[in-house]
């Protein structure tokens, strides 16, 4: 005989525990439990049968997986929590008694919980860590812009934490710049989305997307619990720092990269870091290195004696790459004073690094170095945090100040400007040089399309073309008209890139198209009224002789010649066939489907209905969009006519 199954000994009743049960089992406070859950990534479950999981009670409860809680019992973090609890007690007692020395001793031996093991445990492989990097990056970006007291009178965010967050994102960006791994950028309402391709375990590329809010004071609602956010941040900081360590190490760089204090104080975010190669395998190359270094140093001294622009600074890697391409003893075009000092004092780049960068440059495809031939000047209202990162990650050079006339000004090819400016002023600033004036969206669109698009339509003060999400294919409605428009625009723009009247010319064909479209529509609309009734009837049923006869009579009455009548009839029949055939086919098909659906089982029928529901929703959404588009176009045409 089979073993008698008793209630509550297997299945859902055994698999799930409520939160209170878990607390009792672990013997910790609720806040500690929450912290543990956040750090360990333990989440409540939704049992299939709540009543069974709750042992017959239908009271609302949060359920956790029994084994999750069981594993928590052996968690080293739990031990640390307990240690900390007793430490806090001791400290409070010492302070209460005024035993300062004892308190100091205790404070020195304060138990510190480390989260490394959690990182490894939650993300056993590097790829998994990268796949889950979106939330950490988002939160770290957010915290880097928060004040120390986001909600006055409530939990404080230590300034060290904020500093660490901004350091981490800078390091992340520095890495992205060095490896040119930025792929997409999207200027949204909420902020700017970026996407990088990061090599995971075994070189498998993982897409990492993050959101960086605009540079404004963040509005913090009072019901946000910062203790929770800080706990998350603890884990995320650890995760990101380990990830960065791995990424830097794979690039053969020292992590953490040394921070140039001087630059940092001047407000440089990304540029304040020096990337230092690891000196693990110097060996034979050392002699070459030293030569190079010496040359560098000499050049540095020369340059520093000359007049240099303090504000101009460039990516070192970029220069390294350039240098590799350059002939020996060719003066570099730009050289800033502080960088020279850095080169002289900071650890020298080794041959390996140069090799690495050069090979890197060679390996990266053309699109990575989209902007490598260009130098951008950032107007002061544009966000240098964003555009410096994007342009440098795409291989471009950045100049942020035009104050002192240096040779570097000549290299400027593009000016990113985000305010209306008069042509006279532009010419004045250009001072005879040929600059391309663009709005920031141009850069984003270039990155997303992975090619340099025409700057037409992006000039300062112009109404910009719509900015589309580069992740359009994923979960978005198909909008063929949009692509058509874009393609048309692109081709038109490319064809007539240099011509002045480009825009006008491009507008004209569009208008023509539009009017044609309209005509067709009108035709369709008036199809009914176009033909006399009898002819129409005849065309609808061409085989009916009596109808044909009636139509002939009508034509005679109207004074239409027989041949003309024949032609008309043919046209009408054709038009009707066009009209009718899809409809009738659809109808027939629909009818057929309906019939076959009769034979579906109840279960399948329901499932089918569900699927059809979502499809219908999508279709309705699409229709709505299309309708709106048509209405807008119509309105625009009208406005244009007026």
């Amino acid at each position: 005989m089979a073993k008698i199954k008793r209630k509550g000994e297997s299945g859902a009743a055994k698999n799930y525990v409520t939160r209170n049960q878990a607390l009792k089992k672990l013997q910790i406070s609720l806040s500690d439990f929450r912290r543990l859950c956040i750090l360990k990534g333990i989440y409540p479950r939704e049992p299939l049968n709540k009543k069974r999981a709750n042992k017959g009670s239908s009271a609302p409860a949060t359920f956790y997986y029994h084994k999750d809680i069981q594993y928590l019992l052996h968690e080293p973090l739990l031990v640390k929590f307990r240690e900390h609890k007793s430490f806090a007690k001791k400290l409070a007692r010492a302070l209460g008694r005024g035993e300062w020395a004892l308190a100091k001793n205790l404070e020195d031996a304060k138990p510190v919980a480390r989260l490394d093991h959690l990182v490894k445990e939650r993300y056993p492989t590097f790829t998994l860590a990268l796949q889950d990097l979106q939330d950490p990056l988002n939160l770290v970006h957010l915290f880097s812009t928060l004040p120390t007291n986001p909600i006055p009178g409530k939990t404080l965010v230590p300034s060290s934490v904020i500093a660490e967050c901004s350091r981490l994102i800078s390091e992340w960006k520095v890495w992205a710049i060095r490896t040119n791994s930025l792929r997409k950028i999207f200027l949204g309402v909420k902020g700017i989305y970026y996407e990088c391709e990061v090599p995971g375990q075994g070189g498998e590329l993982v897409k990492v997307r993050w959101l960086e809010g605009y540079e404004f004071q963040q509005h913090v609602p009072t019901d946000v619990d910062f203790r929770i956010l800080l706990t998350f941040l603890d884990l995320y900081r650890t995760l990101i720092s380990f990830t960065l360590f791995k990424l830097y190490t794979e690039e053969n760089l020292v992590y953490p990269p040394p921070l140039d204090v001087e630059l940092d104080e001047r407000g440089e975010s990304v540029g304040a870091f020096r990337l230092v190669e690891k000196k693990d395998n110097l060996g034979v190359e050392s002699s070459k290195v030293s030569k190079k270094a010496v040359r560098k140093a000499i050049r540095g001294i020369k340059a520093s004696t000359g007049d240099v622009d303090a504000d101009v600074e460039m990516d070192e890697d970029e220069q390294d790459g350039n240098e590799e391409d350059d002939e020996e003893f060719v003066e570099r075009p730009t050289k800033s004073g502080e960088e020279v000092e850095d080169v002289a004092t900071a650890p020298l780049t080794t041959y390996n690094s140069l090799l690495a960068t050069s090979s890197n440059a060679a390996s990266t495809s053309k699109q990575n170095l989209l902007f490598s031939p260009y130098t951008f000047y950032l107007s002061r209202e544009t966000s240098s945090r964003t555009w410096e990162f994007v342009i440098r990650a795409m291989g471009g050079k950045i100049i942020t100040s035009l104050n002192s006339p240096t040779p570097s000004d000549d290299s400027i090819t593009h000016v990113i400007i985000d305010r209306p400016i008069t042509v006279e002023r532009m010419r004045e600033m250009e001072n005879g040089r040929k600059w391309t004036w663009i709005q920031p969206q141009w850069v984003a669109d270039c990155v997303n399309r992975q090619k340099i698009i025409s700057s037409e339509g992006y000039h300062p003060g112009q109404l910009l073309p719509p900015h589309l999400s580069p992740w359009d294919g994923e979960g978005e409605l198909a909008r063929p008209w949009l692509e058509d428009q874009q393609n048309a625009a692109i081709t038109a723009a490319q064809e007539e890139a240099d011509q002045e009247e480009d825009a006008i010319e491009r507008d004209a064909p569009e208008e023509e198209d539009v009017s044609e479209d309209e005509d067709v529509e009108d035709e369709e609309e008036t199809a009914g009224s176009k033909y006399p009734p009898a002819l129409l009837a005849s065309s609808l049923d061409p085989e009916n002789v009596s109808l044909l006869h009636a139509a002939e009579l009508e034509a005679e009455q109207n004074g239409v010649s027989h041949s003309a009548f024949r032609n008309q009839l043919k046209e009408a029949i054709k038009a009707n066939a066009k009209d009718a055939s899809p409809k009738s086919q659809v109808g027939k098909k629909g009818g057929e489907e309906d019939l076959r659906k009769i034979m579906m089982s109840n279960k399948k029928a329901k499932l089918y209905e569900k699927m059809q529901y979502s499809n219908r929703e999508k279709a309705a959404e699409k229709e709505n969009l299309e309708r709106k588009r048509l209405a807008i176009e119509k309105r625009k045409r009208k406005e244009a006519r007026v």
Partner: protein, 845 residues
Amino acid sequence: MAPRNATASSSRAASSSISRPVKSNGIAGPSTIRNKKRAVQEVSEDEDDEEFGAAGSGIDMSDDEDAEEEDEEVDEEAFPEFDSEIEDDNEQDGDDETQEEEEELDDEESGSESGYNSSDIEAMYGEADEDDDQEDYSPITSPSSSHKELSTDEKLSKMIAKNSIKPDDSLGTDAKISRAKEGVGRLVPSKLVEGGYKREYDDYEAGYGSESSTEDNPNTVGNIPMEWYDDLPHIGYDVNGRKIFRPAQGDELDKFLSNTEDPAAWTSAEDKLLQQSVQLTDKELDIIRRLERAENPDADYDPYQPTIEWFTGEGNERVMPLSAAPEPKRRFVPSKWEHKKIMKIVKAIREGRIIPNKPSAAKPTVYAIWSESDQSNLQHAMYMPAPQLPPPKTIESYNPPEEYLLTEEEKKEWEETDKEDRKIDFLPAKYDSLRLVPGYKNLVQERFERCLDLYLAPRTRKVKLNIDPESLIPKLPAPKELKPFPISTSVVYRHPESSRVRSVSTSPDGLWVATGSEDGIVRVWDLGNGREVWKWNLKSGAIQHLSFSPYKDECLLIALVSGKIAVLSPLALVSPSVAANTLTHANTAFASSAATTKIGAGKDIKGVESIKWVRPNESERERGVLVYVEVPGTPKQVSWHRKGDYFATVASDASNKSVLIHQLSKHSTQSPFKKLPGQVQKVIFHPSKPHFFVATQRYIRQYDLSSQTLVRTLQSGVKWISSLDLHPRGDNLIIGSYDKKLAWFDLDLSNKPYKTLRYHTKALRSVVYHPTLPLFASASDDGTIHIFHCTIYQDLMQNPLIVPLKILRGHKITDGIGVLDLSWVSGKPWLVSSGADGEVRLWCS
């Protein structure tokens, strides 16, 4: 205690004072420097203790004698060798200083070996200081530590005092040492130090209370049984080892005499050790006396001395009831065992086994945590990673195409819906340039909610079906492969005044259509052209149902009206032979009985009496009305047997006579059921077996008429059966129900439906199998007729194939009733349907 050799002790004190470096601020204390290690230790202490040297020196420099005295005493207490304390008061003062110094020295010497040394403790504390040198040493650390520190300060001052005061001065200053000054001792030239003097004292006269006075016993044998010496001439040895001879003892007589003679004899006791009687002193006698009286042996003890009022009485009132009793010693004397433990630790620290406050080998903050050989864990069924945030869509752009912006109504709707129900969590907006984009207000809130979702939202695994919805639709042959079947209306038979046509039937030869409408007229129509060719007005209300006999050689039509069954035949329309056959069949019984009315048809079943077979009058007979059968209730349905002789009628309001089986040839009627299982809806004969199906509201019962038994009960699973038909082969059955369902029974398979289909939107009125072709049709109140193909395979293992073929629409719905009856045209894929709109339609392929 033996008198000490003062000379030796003083010289040693001098030597130690020479070797000791004079410090103003050190707390090295009295530790003698014997080895390099210690020296090093002290040097380090020197450096460290400079911080608080000033405080110590403040005390040192005071020349107060009492302070020094106290210091010494405290020192004694801190390092307890307690024996001297008891003597303090009784001893002669002159000895005090040297004695103490000596003891101190002894301590020091022994300390280096046993580890019980003040310097050790100091060394330890010094080391402790060394390690946390950033820390400012606060004196409040603990009571014990403050005490220690005090003692070190005192020691320090004592040291300084000892080393800074010359011997002569000290004689002058010290009150207790001043006995030497009094000249009790005498100065003699020292033998050890050239030109030095030493002071010699007289021997002590040990009095009572002195240890030696009670021990004044010449016999040194100790506490042994004296009988061991019984056989020897002596009784022990004196201090010098000489034998003490047994004193001469008289015999018993002498003893007796001396006892009687000597008056003091009774106050003497025998000293066993000396084997002689000793005279007890008065004091001793007094003690004995007191003991006898159970009194305190001490004569000075006063049991009634006045109480000393510590806490009560005038001037002794206390606010707090605290004890003024002196502090017990253990409160301020450090524990020896703790000290030993500490010394162990100190030793370990000295030897380097323990490095205090050693910074633990900290892991680096970041290191290579992942390697190429990492394996991801096998994903457990209960592992549910959090869903990633979806990528932003174009609608989120700062500059989206214009159609993405919300219209006024949409905006209003968005604002009115709850936060949780909104499809998008932001209002799309279009900005002309990037600099105009404001900060997003909900960024923090969104991040926070995401965090909450990550750890608070219950997760469950939802299987997303990634299947093509088309695959759910069963694969069936296309209807066009299953032609012919009725597709469209070809003939419409219109009834005057649009009276409802309740029933329709086609003749077995496929030429005529009979319809029964609610105006009480049975009409016969030409099937092909829709011309009305014959009609009977039965004048007794609506025609409930009518049916042609399936027997081809006859043309018999049975129509049901209230209380009456009419057997009709359009005799003029049919061939003469058929007409003749028909007439003979219907009238034979009349001929045999020669009566116009026949009751009960010769059966003597109870209750059948009311059923009369009536011959219509002449004129009616000429019109083709052959027989009337008067039955109780209103018969609603007639069902022919295949052979065309028997027919069954159902009149649901006729209680137990609702089901009747009539035999036309004999004009007889039977009521097969004495008691009915429920309200009978429909009945039908089995085409080949003598079986009979009765459908009640929910069940269908199959009876064997020959053996009069119930064969099986079919459970329909519908609420109210409306119609019933049996496949011509007799092994499949369909029913239609008022609750919009059609159920197909495979009689060989189960008592439950093989398939229940629900496709009509309203109640089914009629379901009919085609008599020869694999078709069936259903009619419903929704005004549609569904045509199905049904192939029934010979192979019993194969399920019947049912294919929906066509929906016939054309009948109008009047008063919520659509199509009422259906009838297939035999031999052709044609269908005749009658509707509530007064039309009968012929549907052709």
